[in-house]
Symmetry: none
Subunit: 208 residues, 4 copies
Amino acid sequence: MTQTATPRTLKEKQRQEREALILQAAEEVLMEKGYHETSIDEIASLVGIAKGTVYLHFARKEDLVIALFERDLEKFLQLVETTIATGLTARAKMEAIMDVLYGSFFSKRFQLLYSLSNSVDLRRIFVEKKGCMRETWERLFARITSLLEEGKAAGEFDTTIPTSVMVSAFFSLLSPKSYDRLMVEGQMPQEEVAKQLGRIYFKGIAAV
Amino acid sequence: MTQTATPRTLKEKQRQEREALILQAAEEVLMEKGYHETSIDEIASLVGIAKGTVYLHFARKEDLVIALFERDLEKFLQLVETTIATGLTARAKMEAIMDVLYGSFFSKRFQLLYSLSNSVDLRRIFVEKKGCMRETWERLFARITSLLEEGKAAGEFDTTIPTSVMVSAFFSLLSPKSYDRLMVEGQMPQEEVAKQLGRIYFKGIAAV
Amino acid sequence: MTQTATPRTLKEKQRQEREALILQAAEEVLMEKGYHETSIDEIASLVGIAKGTVYLHFARKEDLVIALFERDLEKFLQLVETTIATGLTARAKMEAIMDVLYGSFFSKRFQLLYSLSNSVDLRRIFVEKKGCMRETWERLFARITSLLEEGKAAGEFDTTIPTSVMVSAFFSLLSPKSYDRLMVEGQMPQEEVAKQLGRIYFKGIAAV
Amino acid sequence: MTQTATPRTLKEKQRQEREALILQAAEEVLMEKGYHETSIDEIASLVGIAKGTVYLHFARKEDLVIALFERDLEKFLQLVETTIATGLTARAKMEAIMDVLYGSFFSKRFQLLYSLSNSVDLRRIFVEKKGCMRETWERLFARITSLLEEGKAAGEFDTTIPTSVMVSAFFSLLSPKSYDRLMVEGQMPQEEVAKQLGRIYFKGIAAV
DNA sequence: AATGAATGAGAGTTCATTCAT
DNA sequence: CATGAATGAACTCTCATTCAT
């Protein structure tokens, strides 16, 4: 669906721009209403196009969500990999990744990804479509896993806690629930949320 | 809807038993399929009654979910309050609560509660129906909050981390995502999950 | 779908009556407009019920058509078998069958069956659902085939013409096209059509 | 739409060639899938042109079918008229026509024409568009009719059978249903089908 | 002339909800 | 009380047709 490659022709460029608009609108509505309460019609009219036009870009409603995932997961994985390439310590890298996740660019997007992937009704979609994006997802996991193990080897992280538990805890702390509760209800600024949850997490997994 | 009071008549008792059966069936199907993919019909036939009968107990599909919450939240709150009444230290109380949440009785149930309350599509329901159950929810939060502050006062927990962040982190670590990943995919036994996540958490919030 | 068995209860009786009404309406509209130009909505409002109600009886649009077939094919097969049980000569039996097909009761219905089964777009349906009704259809063919062979053995029909050709020719002559052309456009009375086409046919296959 | 006249310019010639290609593709797909299950897009991509281009030749989907009819009906009428101009007997002429209809060139085409014209959903089209092609159709009927009457006058055909019935029977025997059943399922070669059905027919209408 | 993106009416289908029995 | 037939709004998806490029 999404041809991230170079948009040689004008047509292709326009097409991609439109697709981006659809994805953006979809993101917005999905975030507000969730998958089932969002209708294609609503997305279309938010973009200002006809229902049928959405189907020119995404053959099924599911594909829209999947594209949303692919787009952001890919970008996120790149960021993680860039961070890993840095000469920092494992802990510093993990903190940088956490900052990025909570950072201005990804915050809302990641929230969507997270709630969609957590949604019981959508599990089916992701299980079926593993081929498309499971790979990216697994690579992301693998990166975080090896980062944590790197930290263990460097004496930064507690070697008595299983790495898999650390990974889970890491992603759990990023759940939109925390985000919402602290930022929206608790009025805590974003950076503060990242900092504080990071503190708990990194102290929690620190080597004794 | 739910008359928690003593069932004076036989009829009333039967009514409550049936309601419990409906809730149980609903829990099962909701857990597996999520809110929108679950139909009233399916729940009814799992109980072995007619669709219309479900409506004698719950006027709308939403109410079923809300009742599910109320039922379990109430029970959970009671458990928390019982634990608090103990003479243990704050940290020991928190650990006990965590054990309960991951314990045999609540594990699956809490998972459902958590995913439903996290589900974007259902947020609306909970926001609208605050009246019904917000109160219990808030009390639960208040209990955990004061428990954490008790711990801070006793020098057990880090006073530089805002209590609200601690609460959020606590609930986030309980997310079904962690549960699934570690237990289902990672084959880790339940108690081990509770223990390890607890370790991270309590070390993370421990006083320096 | 169609429980032709005894309708013990009142409910069941009403159900069957309603189902009959739907089939009748469907027959009407399908006859006039064909499969694709007929909408469930149209059938429903002809019966005076809601669209959803139709789906209580027939889970898919296809099933409606299939039920239509099953209903009439079965009846027709019975008539054929009744005729065969007669002590008449093979030719007399064939003539009786032809009369029935063109007779008041079946004429219009059989027309529908014939055009639907001839329709290229519906071929798929019948091919897929062979299980349901292919059997009846094959038995009908078998009956006609053995009747013609009986006639050949009795010296009534030309043994040099393959029986399969005779069967095909028999059904072809009954096509609604002939019916329409002669009765509707040519104003020829039904019995006359049957008589004349029969004459050609039986003279054509008669033994020399 | 179709400019059957001599193609003065090169452009015009190209246009007609493309139109022929479209008709050919349409014929193919229509034969396989029927009218409603065939999309303009499918026809276009079979020709290797864009959907819009088809509309430069045929303003509506219906017109494509009509053009198909006109094309073949015209050719067929010419063949009939050529045959009639022969010095043969009426019966020999009729046999020649039957051969042509079942012959290699027309067999498949005629099948399509027949099923489309028989299709209930398309009846509307043909009724509405009489102007376009009713004339050709009627002339064809008229030719066959006078041929049969010529045969009656010559003592070849049974004068007690109404000519209109003979015409109907003639066309009915040619139905694709017979064709399919005998050729495809029964593995009978084309010439044999023509010969055998012809035998029944001509014996059936022969003078006593 | 050719394209193919855009349109939007319309179809099949589902299911929460109601209510006569 | 319990039932489940009936309802109809709402949704996804398709495709003939149009039209700017």
